[in-house]
Symmetry: C2
Subunit: 356 residues, 2 copies
């Protein structure tokens, strides 16, 4: 059993752990290898002896090191979750949903925040790989495909959530972003708007691209022009929503309706509109992706495209556990967003006046 | 070098890694131990040989396993951060601030969500201990003192953030919660309110206790009674704020002013007030702890006690790095919250009417 002890020595908490094993053995007048075996292969130790050892171990607060064990077995009971922005309540809700499923399977979840920064995502992927997490749920920044492929080859199951990383053997859970953006555009078109603007996210992200595409398609189907000046590409963060809105309001002919492709940029848009006393919905109808909590508390409350956030997180975790249970084929699930009409979207003023 | 190889064997990615070392050695016609040494003690290998080895290693995408290394050194370049509720934007802001400092020191941050659940906190503490994080920043659920003491004895530096865990050798970064609650009460008293209610958090948490104490002290100093019916103990989550508000509104003589001790419960209070069409501030003045983003977007905007959230996170991380650099004495930093007066707090109606 020398090799096993050697492992214990190096892989548990250094010498201290070995001392603890030795101490326990001494105290019980047993061989150290018996103590070690009682912890690693309890079925090989007589029940009475095992009981005595486990009791003593408990009294020492000795806790077998699951990461050390996992280095032999090759995995831990931990899921890694990389979110692209922890301050976005959309991702906080996903963390919660993933944890709910993971903890039902006896797994812990560690969260890394890529902060929309490819370099931080790189570090997070390396860290989770070194932790030997059982699998990774990954809201991609759009970079690091190379590392993802390498992790996948090493046997880490990976689930893409919300955004497609490009990894062909990852399971994927997405919202139909194009359909969501189409719903938003069609709602504004039905209200009678003809000068519509959009603030979308980065075009290397599926979310940013699909939300622009859906919006464009709906306008094109309705034969409404979408001039370049009314299309802004932000970075899904508050500041870019603010800046794009300021530029839209500065146009000689500003839009009468604005679709913002996530809640963070919508918060920025709101700040710009308040600062300039632009009345919603009188002067500008506003609709945003994401039904975050504060959307319904605004005055007027915000019309939104709601994503089934909890379901996204739950499904992603379930797909990961299916993989861990042996499923081989790649699964892609696309969930449908819904339109929630509230006070921030009305017919444009000229139509409302003509109606009156 | 056999023992070193043994470590590599067990601590890197199992047999595969050994095979990789052997492969590299074969390819370069070198001894395996030379390859191993070039990775672990490069100064002991001739430069030309080292260069050849490192080049080949790079071509294999071989990456030394920092957790395995850390098992020998006894620490990783990773901080563990336990937040008590990831959906609370207060903690999301703290995550971001901690990450900022950590990444400046070349450290990664992993986040665990205790979800206000002592059992999840237990799991998170064990997980971080097994990961051998360099240190732990900990927003306590108020439980697990026993485990914290054990981790501290094992040499994990621990910083309490926002809430006191009871661990005497932890550094602590807090907001002066009593002062914050006093500010809130004094503001409402100055407006002329005499029937004030409070919804606070669990009394086993310093935040819940101190925010009630501060409120009570200010009322007592002003010789204003605080009957039990106007004091509600929630759990810092949205639902409890909702329920407490419903009960307050059901009183034969409801309060004219309400102080809610965090933003999550304030969101619940708002829902209850909206559902029952209770006008803010006409029928009820509202003030909440935490200047979360949506507070200023409400109509009327919410009067709040703002916490220096970013500074809390930054300081906590800085204290942890000071510990890692050798500081021995225990440090406790208490930051001051501030009152931000907005539209949700006005004189009670009878006074406003009398003034007119």
């Amino acid at each position: 059993m020398v090799s096993l002890l050697t492992i214990d020595f190096y892989q548990r908490k250094g010498w201290k752990r070995l001392v603890t094993l030795v101490e326990i053995a001494k105290k019980l007048n047993l061989n150290v290898s018996t103590v070690s075996r009682a912890l690693s292969r309890p079925d090989m130790v007589a029940e009475a002896t095992r009981e005595r050892i486990l009791e003593t171990v408990a009294s020492y607060e000795y806790r077998p090191n699951s990461i050390a064990r996992s280095l032999r077995k090759g995995k831990t009971c931990t899921l890694g979750l990389i979110v692209s922005d922890i301050q976005n309540p959309f991702y906080a809700a996903i963390v919660k949903a993933v944890e709910g499923i993971a903890s039902g399977h006896g797994y812990s979840t560690v969260v890394c925040n890529a902060d929309e920064n490819p370099q931080k995502e790189t570090e997070a992927l390396h860290l989770l790989s070194e932790m030997k997490v059982a699998g990774i749920i990954h809201g991609s920044t759009g970079a690091n495909l190379h590392i993802l492929q390498s992790l996948s080859r090493q046997g880490f199951p990976i689930v893409d959530i919300d955004r497609v990383s490009g990894l062909t053997d990852a399971d994927t859970v997405l919202v139909d972003n194009q359909a969501g953006a189409r719903l938003a555009a069609e709602h504004l078109l039905e209200l009678g708007h003809t000068r519509l603007a959009v603030i979308t996210g980065p075009q290397h992200l599926t979310t940013g691209r699909d939300r622009l595409d859906g919006f464009r398609l709906a306008l094109s189907a309705a034969k409404i022009a979408l001039p370049d000046a009314l299309v802004h590409i932000g970075d899904f963060r508050e500041g870019s929503g603010y800046e794009a809105t300021v530029r839209l309001l500065g146009l000689s002919s500003p839009p009468t309706a604005l679709f913002v492709a996530n809640n963070e940029m919508a918060a920025g848009a709101l700040t710009a509109l308040r600062e300039r006393s632009v009345l919603i919905p009188d002067a500008l109808s506003l609709i945003s992706f994401d039904d975050v909590r504060w959307a319904k508390y605004l005055e007027p409350a915000l019309t939104v495209i709601a994503q089934p956030t909890e379901q996204l997180g739950t499904l992603a975790a379930e797909l990961l556990f299916e993989r861990l249970s042996g499923r081989k084929e790649v699964v892609r699930r696309v969930l449908q967003p819904t339109l929630i009409t509230r006070g921030s979207s009305t017919p444009p003023r000229e139509i409302a006046v003509a109606d009156a």
